[in-house]
């Protein structure tokens, strides 16, 4: 099976006035279906830039990127929007939920733009996704009535609702306390156990240890790419993640 993510010699240069600031300097990355990869690095290492390119939010300056068998560098804005909708699920550090919409409406959002109409009944798909992250009883709540952990679960449900091939999480635990962070990581581990490819950006060691493979960046280059020997699995029973308490200790 071909890798789901395959990049070759990715370069990204940001133009700051007359000077070009390189953010990526030749990244080769291959991720197979079903992997759980943590991308690590200090700030300025280029991990966010890489994430934006892998998520089709941004385009590389040079280099190739093949996502799920399709070459995506050089696609138009609208084509990239469709790929974000059909292939990728995003989870952000700041949750990025629509504040005035209910959890259910937030989760339905990607399906509003689902041109392919892959999901028959958006309402039921959203309910299923929220149930999957353990929020069956919070569906009609607005984000401001949910704890941070619960909000991030809503965001994860939103990422899942379109049945993506790849879930991208950019510092998903950055705004959460340790306990809640682990609960969220458990959700990711569960999803990965169910076969979903997860790619996670973090700068925390503890969080990265929940993945199966670590890719470390420095100055826009991969300096380490290895499987994790002492992987940390949250909870004794991996499938218990969805019922792990009321979400947050905030």
């Amino acid at each position: 099976m071909p890798p789901i993510v395959s990049t070759h010699a990715l370069h990204k240069v940001y133009q700051m006035g007359a000077v070009g600031v390189p953010a990526l300097r030749g990244v080769d990355l291959h991720i197979e279906e079903g992997e759980f990869v943590a991308i690590m690095g200090a700030s300025g290492s280029g991990k966010s830039t890489l994430m934006n390119i892998l998520g089709c939010l941004d385009v590389p300056s040079t280099g190739t990127y093949v996502l799920a068998g399709r070459q995506v560098d050089g696609l138009s804005r609208d084509q990239r929007a469709d790929i974000r909708n059909q292939v990728i699920g995003f989870v952000f550090q700041g949750f990025n939920l629509l504040p005035r919409a209910s959890a259910l409406e937030n989760v339905e959002l990607p399906l509003v733009y689902d041109r392919a109409r892959r999901v028959g009944d958006p309402r039921r798909a959203a309910e299923a996704a929220l149930t999957r992250v353990g929020l069956a009883d919070r569906m009609t709540h607005a984000p401001n009535r949910l704890s941070g952990g619960e909000q991030q679960r809503v965001a994860i449900a939103r990422a899942l609702v379109g049945n993506p091939r790849l879930v991208l999480a950019d510092e998903p635990t950055g705004n959460l306390d340790t306990r809640t962070s682990m609960e969220i990581m458990q959700v990711f581990q569960d999803l990965n156990d169910q076969g979903i490819t997860v790619l996670l950006v973090t700068h925390e060691q503890d969080i990265s240890r929940c993945a199966k493979r670590i890719v470390e960046l420095r100055d826009g280059k991969v300096i380490r790419d290895a499987a994790i020997g002492d992987r940390y699995v949250v909870g004794s029973d991996p499938r218990a993640g969805g019922t792990a308490g009321p979400g947050g200790a905030s």
Binding site: L57, D78, L109
Partner: protein
Amino acid sequence: MIAWIRYPGVALRSLLKNKSRSLLTSLGIIIGVGSVIVMVSVGQGSQADIAETINSMGVNMLMVMPPHSMRGGVNRGAGSLATFTMDDADYLRERSEYCSAISAMTMSPAQVIGGEGNWSTSVLGVDVDYPRIRDWGVDQGEFFTARDVRTRSKVALIGKTIADELFPGQNPVGVRVRVRNTPFTIIGVLSEKGEDARGRDQDDVILAPVTTVLARLKGGREIDMIQASARTIEELDEAEEEVADLLRTLHKIMPGEDDDFHVRTQTEIIERASETSRIMTSMLGAVAAVSLIVGGIGIMNIMLVSVTERTREIGIRMAVGARERDILLQFMLEAVSLSLAGGVIGVMVALLVAAALDAIWGVTTVVNPMVVLMAFGFAGIVGVFFGIYPARKAASLNPIDALRHE
């Protein structure tokens, strides 16, 4: 085909979440649409009033006047020449085929004394056909006869206004009044006619035989005008042509020479009066339309603010797969919803105001469904036009920057 049906719902919901702002934003459109409809309704109401008054004068009427005294048939300027006499009227009566009624007319301002006091009015000297030409009835008593005209009888009919002023609650028929020292016997009261196209009270008048007025009040044989009535409205043009031909023959005017008279029909008067009113109506409408455009600018401002406020939302929508067009459409729909909602409220306000004007102040208003539709449609166009810029701005945002926006 994406879920287009869902967009209006999304737009409406986001507007309803900000009710007071939405209402204030729509206010410009509400006022714009409302004033367009009210202004045009008032304008068209006055047009309808004019048409009604003109109809009340008798539609197939034509007037023959000297060329320089055209102000309502009244001989005004000192140098103006009265070129008609009773002979002209008699000549036309004998030969015209297309006219069913012909009356000479002369007018004299006069003070009338009698009943409860005195009253300044106009005495119209007319012939027996005059009530038929003007479609004017007699309430009490009777009109004078051809014999009265022949014998220069000192009889008169008074208009409703004079009857009310000089004989309140009394029957004036048979009473004698003095008009400039000439005693007249009142033989009838005319039915109420109301105001004419220029707002003059048509009931403030005394009708007497033209011969009597010429002999007793004016002196001489010159009359001010001849009024006639075509047999049917369809024959009005023929009647006009015939009267002109007959007068040219009588006055020995050679082909190519200027006429020493002027024939006017109601259509001319109607056209002129409604032309004036139409210009007024379109000017009022145009002024109101400007306020509609100002309302559109208000919508644009608020939409720009809204785009800035919701930059993050736009970023989120783009991240989960919204195309540029999806964002464009969302904000366009919001702008159009704002203006159409304003339009609906504006129409309702306008209908209320028009009804109130009619009921409370007695201003005739004609609410034309076409105008309502046009004002509403224009509001929609304003929404589209002023929605484009903010929506484009939203749609062209870079998703990464939008997501980072605080």
